[in-house]
Symmetry: C2
Subunit: 340 residues, 2 copies
Amino acid sequence: MTTIKDVAREAGVSIGTVSATLNGTKYVSDKLQKRVHEAVKKVGYTPSVAAQSLKKGSAKIIGLILPDITNQFFAVLARAVEKAATSHEYTVLLGNSDQDQKKEADFLRLLKNHRVAGLILAPSSSGEEYGRNLADTVATPVVLVDRKTEGVVWDSVVSSNKDGARRAVMHLIECGHSRIAGIFGISYVSTVRDRLEGYKEVIRAAGYTVSPELIATGCNDPEKVRLAAQAMLNLRERPTAFFASNNQVLQGVMLAVRNHGLNCPRDISITGFDGMGWADLMDPPMTTVEQAASEMGAEAVRLLIHRLQGNSGPPQHIVLPTQFLVRKSSVPPLDSIYKW
Amino acid sequence: MTTIKDVAREAGVSIGTVSATLNGTKYVSDKLQKRVHEAVKKVGYTPSVAAQSLKKGSAKIIGLILPDITNQFFAVLARAVEKAATSHEYTVLLGNSDQDQKKEADFLRLLKNHRVAGLILAPSSSGEEYGRNLADTVATPVVLVDRKTEGVVWDSVVSSNKDGARRAVMHLIECGHSRIAGIFGISYVSTVRDRLEGYKEVIRAAGYTVSPELIATGCNDPEKVRLAAQAMLNLRERPTAFFASNNQVLQGVMLAVRNHGLNCPRDISITGFDGMGWADLMDPPMTTVEQAASEMGAEAVRLLIHRLQGNSGPPQHIVLPTQFLVRKSSVPPLDSIYKW
DNA sequence: ATGAAAGCGCTAACAT
DNA sequence: ATGTTAGCGCTTTCAT
């Protein structure tokens, strides 16, 4: 591998001059600049990130920890982060946590080893203790995405989760549903909590009671979703509508409804959070609340870069609006069915 | 940030001993080992990847270049790569090329700067010249995934693309279709070429003619797909079936068919490549050929690690079988319509 | 069995 | 305006 020395020799200058012209750190005459650039090209020099990082004490790397890139929402988010980071000359190191604190911690350590400049994180828990632990291990600036953590002073970018859930459930109520089931992911992340709150609030505000038998949390894999939905469908008083709190849950609910021999929307309505491009093509097209995944990633980088530039100030909390799209999966209930 | 020196001081040993116990490079007495480990914990030491890489001349990093992580297929692939790489203590640096050679080259340079140990790449072109250029810039072992490049001697892992396409088109023919439209992505990647070949072969073998008006290549964005599909639907002799050569094309075709006021499968059949979990839930459930995305990633890492361990030998080419799943989108043609 | 020290490639402070 | 040099944190060779 060629080094700065090779360039210096080739150009007939000192390595200091090479470094200076490549980084624009101090004045170098046009003549030498030209010679340096030619030499760089000639010997095929590429600077060693390792050496630069070692010298500078930190690398131009942004760590990104997401639950699972396989979830379309996070894929879009990651893509936006990569794009924005690249435009600022940062590389991104991506890790999938599966919402597992062990994996998250492992990757965190890795990022630390890499002396990353900053971190964008969708935390796997929202607890205060968890947040403090995290704060202890990472000394660099952190921006939270998608979810927040309690009592920690980092910037954050999240969707208006509560509001999104409210709109979806409200819509269901306006359609005439009163037994609305809610299926949610892991209960200790803030998105779930917020969406659950929105769900409950609207149901109560409509004068209905929030019945525990119609709420399932902790459904972070397709099988759990299926089981939960199935149990609800077997209830004596079956729900007439489902609120699926994320795109993976939505998938599970659709499958469960179908396996139960039910037709959506005729027999049962479904509303999802996050369709990510496929909602339109599904059977039936799904009513969803859509999140601004791409903006979320871009904003997160913006906030992080801002910190990396040395700005301190109080933590910024950005809430991105969601968009509620009524498609075909949510209609008034079929009386004959829900009365039995 | 704490360094190896801090550990050495804390443990009352030399930095050489610290290094040796941490890496197991040579014998260190149990007593000292214990003291070192305690000191590590006490001062919260994490080794600097930069320093290690600088010293070693290369980093334990695998570069991964994919067209677009937002495409479910590549997301699953990436996830598998990350998992396998991590289990071998490698970090992965992921870049999205958008099949753009400029972006690909930029990211390649970045990887070079990082002195990555090896590279897993879905090349944005299959040309021989392109491949040679690539070979010149990257000195490290490379494993090609999803697509291959001509005349280059790297290991590769791809799907049985031609065979997959053949089965899908054969199925359409067996249903009784003779005017089968094919919509493909960028023509200079090997997947497209292979799938196109499979498509043509089967049509010819069935005794039908391959008509250029029913073939569109270069459809790498939804709009292009829509336009191409629309144009075909407006043909005097409209196709009675579509073969969509990847999941994004599939999405576009479905939309175009619907916008044209047609119903799939009644008016027209559709067959896709790669449903990635959603095919079942679509309207109608889509007949697809499914790829082993996850295995592809895992195999790629396996091959790469094998090279990194110093094995030379001739290039290995792994072809992963595809799975053809008949769902509801492909049925015999409605005579009343295709005869007009 | 352990320590001392050189040197990886680079940046930046200092010298000229 | 350019060159020289120390030193970032680590691995590894060479002494002891």
